[in-house]
């Protein structure tokens, strides 16, 4: 049955791994600093950032100003802290 190991594919096809780390965004959503690995697509970082900033700005408009938002998914936690209109974002996969 060692033959079956042939069917274990090489790693040329990469699934996106969720990293642990943080990054900061300015108020326009530009990434300023990051501790996340380069393997994690930047477009994901921008999208997470954009949605977090929108949520923070929306809360302010809804008369509930928030300094922090934490989003819990079944397999991931994302936390954003307001930084004078920008944000510091922490990404924490479930262990």
């Amino acid at each position: 049955m060692g033959l079956l190991t042939l069917f274990s594919k090489s790693s040329e096809i990469k699934l996106v791994r969720l990293p642990t780390g943080s990054y900061t965004l300015d108020k326009d959503g530009r990434i300023m600093t990051s501790t996340l690995p380069r393997s994690f697509p930047e477009e994901y970082l921008r999208e997470i950032g954009r949605r977090m900033l929108t949520a923070l700005h929306g809360a302010r408009k809804a008369q509930i100003p928030l300094s922090e938002i934490v989003v819990h998914y079944a397999a991931l936690k994302v936390q954003a802290r307001d930084l004078r209109g920008g944000a510091m974002i922490f990404i924490m996969p479930a262990r």
């Binding site: 049955m1 060692g2 079956l4 190991t5 042939l6 069917f7 274990s8 594919k9 096809i13 990469k14 699934l15 791994r17 969720l18 994901y44 999208e47 997470i48 949605r51 929108t54 949520a55 929306g58 809360a59 408009k61 809804a62 008369q63 509930i64 100003p65 928030l66 300094s67 922090e68 938002i69 934490v70 989003v71 819990h72 998914y73 079944a74 397999a75 991931l76 996969p93 479930a94 262990r95």
Partner: protein, 360 residues
Amino acid sequence: MSARPKILLVDDDQDFLDLYREMLSQHLPSSPEVRTANAGARALALLESEPFDLMIVDLSMPKMDGLQVLSIARRKFPQLRLMVLTALREDQFRIRAYAMGVDQYWIKPDTDQEIGLLMESVESLLTREAQGGFRGVQSKSLVDIVQLECLAQSSCVLKVNNGVVEGRVWIQQGEVIDSEIPGLTGEAAFLRIVSWKAGSFEILPADPSRNRAIFTSYQGLLLNTAQAIDEAASFPVPETNPIDGKPKEISVTATLLAELSQVEHVEFVLALGGDKSEEFWGLENPKPLVEWTRATLASFRQLGERLQVGQLQQVLGSGPHRSVALAPCGEGELCVGFPPESSAEQLRETMKDILTKWAS
């Protein structure tokens, strides 16, 4: 269901597909019909065109990876059983796959023994499906399941999930000995769990270390349950809307909101229905909050799908004047306000209680 169960096997490696098609179709007692797809898009097209009982998916595939396929399949075909068969051993992928609702996660076997176990597992999934929908309470109610387990003098733990909260019922030698949901244990938790109208459950091995907290016989418990259901059914018929003649559900929601308002630290509650209706307590002008709640939950749901990280559970916010917690709840959504000094842990625990009450 047809006499022969149907399996859809998805992997980009054609040799793998050929080998496993032969193994599954020829060596399983149920002699399943096995169809194959070498790409995610092809698999989804096949699912659209014919019914399957089980889909077995590899995760590493080009273009559309296995997590994407699972995410779409789970949403569009909720009754389909899903199994991951991959070479990826990292816990992260296992956690994400289970978060998406797969039934089993298998590493591609290397030995005869592992292949044997995999075959047994596939057969078990197919047989469970064939024996009458043990997937959830749509085809068998929880009362039926408890009764069957007790009559069979079984010892097991029933893990029940109504989509929002999880509960457990401990059965020891045909008697219900304890039950638990967040914030409730014993008989009260049991009555709450069996009142859930939809969800899924699984039967776990017995837990002999669990202390007995319910001393009513299972017949007594089920009788109490039946009485509670009868009493609920005998409530006055709700007032009807003079325009469309539909019953007004506002009174039920209003009662629930009043109950939630009694939960410690809760400052306001906003309940949004899937039909765009809204009910609130403790708010003077809910409109901006309604818009923000809907937009925020929709946005983070989309993000969750994009990142393939399973269901959105809660969004917690803290600010100088107030903390808020948002959560999807069945077809609807909830937004609950708390004092600003509430800790994240407090918010999360209180929201669990609130969601339990709401779901029940």
